[in-house]
């Protein structure tokens, strides 16, 4: 992206082992214990060059710990990490081709914006003029040129966040680690910055690993993501994979809202399975998943936006009935809570396509309604 400037000497020294489609970062069976507490358990991940990879999970699930092991601030208790084909075991943080953007930004309070951004460059073999050019280029990239001479306490939160980003990118790392980069920003600024982050990633081509506990953020930002729980990686995939094809109750419940039903497999034929759902008082067909055995207990999961509401019994194969228990109007859509005969509550999203008053609603409180869904929309979970 920039001409004439040598990359970090470290970057140059590293043998470029990863050719073609070989993974750029390989995390092999990494565990980390603090005393008797296991913060990260047997994590194996492969991250491709140039992608934005998100680590998503609840508080305390080990995201930061995993990131700190990539940066070199923590040593894995067992397992190995490879970056660009190079084993990182025993390599200190200051020698890794990795830079990190800290959650607290960790700007140096006694240095100006410009000095903060240029700090890492003093270790690189380049002339003062090149260094200056690089800092100017970075300031330009994050649109902070007018603030170059200010101290961190003299700029706004969003600007500080961009200084931290520019500082981490200045040395042209092979890998940029971002720990909750947007957590401290307000909603509007966050949306704007999400867009900017992806933009900057496309411009620079640096591989990003982003830690977040916000599922929406992970969906928007990432090319692929890993969902973590209690130190384990539960599922890895694209945002669509994770949302549409979760393979465990945890992942299905963590991303978006969803209703779970207990179900029993009646039969499996090719791509579809017939399952009996006691709560719906009927049998429904759903897309089959590997590992379904006839007679086995499984979970059927339905997302609110995949269910259609109607007053009359629909033609669809998968239909069941209930009573409107509660409803909320959100402008572009309405959220219904439907009570089934056995007491289960199902969430249903219905888009308010037409402009109408209360009379235009599909149903109101205490109305009996029919719910239906496509076989493809139902998610069968065996775990």
């Amino acid at each position: 992206m920039d001409s004439g400037i040598k990359g970090a000497p470290l970057a140059a020294a590293t043998a470029s082992g990863a050719a073609g489609g070989a993974p750029f970062i390989r995390i092999e069976d990494v565990s980390k214990s603090f005393g008797s507490f296991q913060a990260v358990r047997n994590v194996s991940l492969q991250i491709t060059k140039g992608e934005i990879f998100a680590l998503l999970g609840g508080s305390g699930c080990g995201k930061t710990t995993l990131l700190r092991m990539l940066a070199g601030f923590e040593t894995p208790t067992s397992g190995r990490i490879f970056i660009d084909g190079q084993d990182m075991t025993g390599i200190p943080a200051y020698e890794r081709p990795v830079n990190m953007m800290f959650q607290s930004y960790a700007l140096f309070p006694h240095m100006s914006v410009e000095k903060n951004i240029g700090y890492g460059l003093k270790h690189d073999r380049m002339t003062d003029a090149q260094r200056k050019d690089r800092v100017r280029e970075m300031l330009d990239l994050v649109q902070l040129t007018p603030f170059a001479h200010r101290k961190p306490h003299q700029i706004s939160g969003g600007q500080r966040q961009r200084v931290a980003l520019a500082r981490a990118l200045a040395r042209q790392p092979k890998l940029l680690l971002l720990d909750e980069p947007l957590a401290a920003l307000d909603k509007k600024l966050r949306e704007h910055t999400q867009f900017e982050l992806t933009n900057i990633q496309h411009k620079t081509g640096v591989t990003f690993v982003v830690v977040t506990h916000d599922q929406e953020e992970a969906m928007i930002l990432s090319d692929r993501m890993a969902v973590m729980d209690k130190g384990r990686v539960m599922q890895v995939g694209s945002p669509t994979d994770i949302y549409e094809f979760p393979d465990s109750r945890f992942v299905a419940g963590f991303i978006g809202s969803i209703t779970f039903f207990e179900a029993r497999v009646r039969s499996v034929s090719g791509a579809t399975a017939l399952v009996e759902v006691p709560a719906m008082q009927t049998c429904v067909t759903a897309r089959a998943v590997p590992g379904l055995a006839e007679g086995a207990l499984v979970t059927l999961a339905l997302r609110p936006e995949k269910i259609t509401l109607s007053r009359a019994r629909p033609e669809a194969a998968n239909a069941f009935s209930g009573v409107v228990h509660d409803l909320g109007y959100f402008g572009k859509d309405s959220l219904y809570k439907i009570a089934l005969p056995d007491g289960t509550t199902v969430s249903v999203n219905s888009v308010n396509a037409r402009r109408s008053g209360e009379s235009g609603r599909v149903a109101v409180w205490e109305d009996a309604v029919w719910l239906s869904f496509e076989p493809d929309a139902a998610i069968l979970l065996t775990a």
């Binding site: 200051y94 607290s104 961190p152 939160g157 920003l185």
Partner: protein
């Protein structure tokens, strides 16, 4: 509701009187023209003039300042290193013990410290032949040993308030540990280092007890000199000397105190504002 402030005020007045009446009366009597220390004979500055002619006092003052400068500087260097080690290297073997050992001299009686240092110096001479004689060197070493505790504590507490992640950030950007120390840690604790030095300086300047154990013939610091003179009776020139010392120390502490306080507050505000993302 009304009685309480009166009561508190009375206590406060007593406290301050207790602290400052002796000093103020000493200052007043230093301008006494009478030879008798406790009988007012009119205003005069002649004792101050006499002081400047007294070579013994001038030599002692010079010696005291020299010892204070050297011991404060050395104990600041050692104390800074110890403070950093205690605050930063979280779990090394013996950290608890070292930390306890550094702070326990705070409550050790001076006499005990003095005696143990004396025994140490005697034994050291016995086995190594050094220091040949107790004097400048031993007094300086003794002062380092008593002020080290204070410096270490000051540095350690400053560092434990600072955010660890900015040091990690520097390391992440390619700085080796010593570069992180130079670029980040030291600038951030600079005010604490300065106040640690000042503390060590004043401790050295006014110590009598430990010094009297560590010193030898021919090495008379100013406090020792004053003490030995007072044993023969308080004379107005001692009052004058003490007044000068009080004035110098007060001005030095006030000026640096204000400077350090201001720098510290500005730095803290910088740091705080830099960490909180939303303004």
């Amino acid at each position: 509701m009304n009685r309480r402030p009166t009561f508190l005020l009375t206590v406060l007045c007593f406290g301050f009187a207790f602290l400052y009446v002796p000093i103020v009366s000493m200052m007043v009597f230093s301008f006494n023209s009478s030879r008798l220390a406790t009988i007012w004979g009119g205003f005069s500055t002649k004792w101050y003039g006499k002081l400047l002619e007294n070579d013994q006092i001038l030599a002692a003052a010079k010696l005291s300042v020299e010892i204070a400068l050297i011991s404060a500087t050395l104990s600041t260097i050692l104390g800074t290193m110890a403070g950093i080690a205690l605050a930063r290297f979280r779990r090394f073997r013996g950290r608890m013990m070292l930390s306890g050992m550094v702070t326990s001299p705070l409550i050790m009686p001076d006499v005990i410290t003095g005696i143990s240092l004396l025994i140490f110096f005697i034994m050291l001479k016995e086995y190594t032949g050094w220091p040949a004689q107790r004097g400048f060197t031993t007094v300086t070493l003794a002062h380092i040993s008593i002020s080290l505790t204070y410096v270490t504590t000051v540095i350690q507490s400053r560092l434990s308030q600072a955010d660890l992640s900015i040091e990690e950030a520097a390391m992440d950007l390619g700085s080796r540990p010593w570069q992180v120390m130079k670029d980040i840690t030291l600038p951030i604790i600079a005010p604490a280092i300065l106040s640690g030095w000042l503390l060590a300086f004043t401790i050295s300047l006014d110590d009598v007890v430990v010094t009297s154990f560590a010193t030898g013939p021919g090495t008379t610091t100013l406090p020792i000199l004053i003490w030995s003179k007072v044993k023969l009776g308080v004379t107005p020139d001692i009052n004058a000397l003490a007044t000068i010392i009080v004035a110098v120390v007060a001005v030095a502490v006030l000026v640096t105190g204000i400077a350090v306080n201001r720098a510290e507050r500005r730095r803290d505000r910088d740091a705080r504002l830099a960490y909180q993302a939303n303004e």
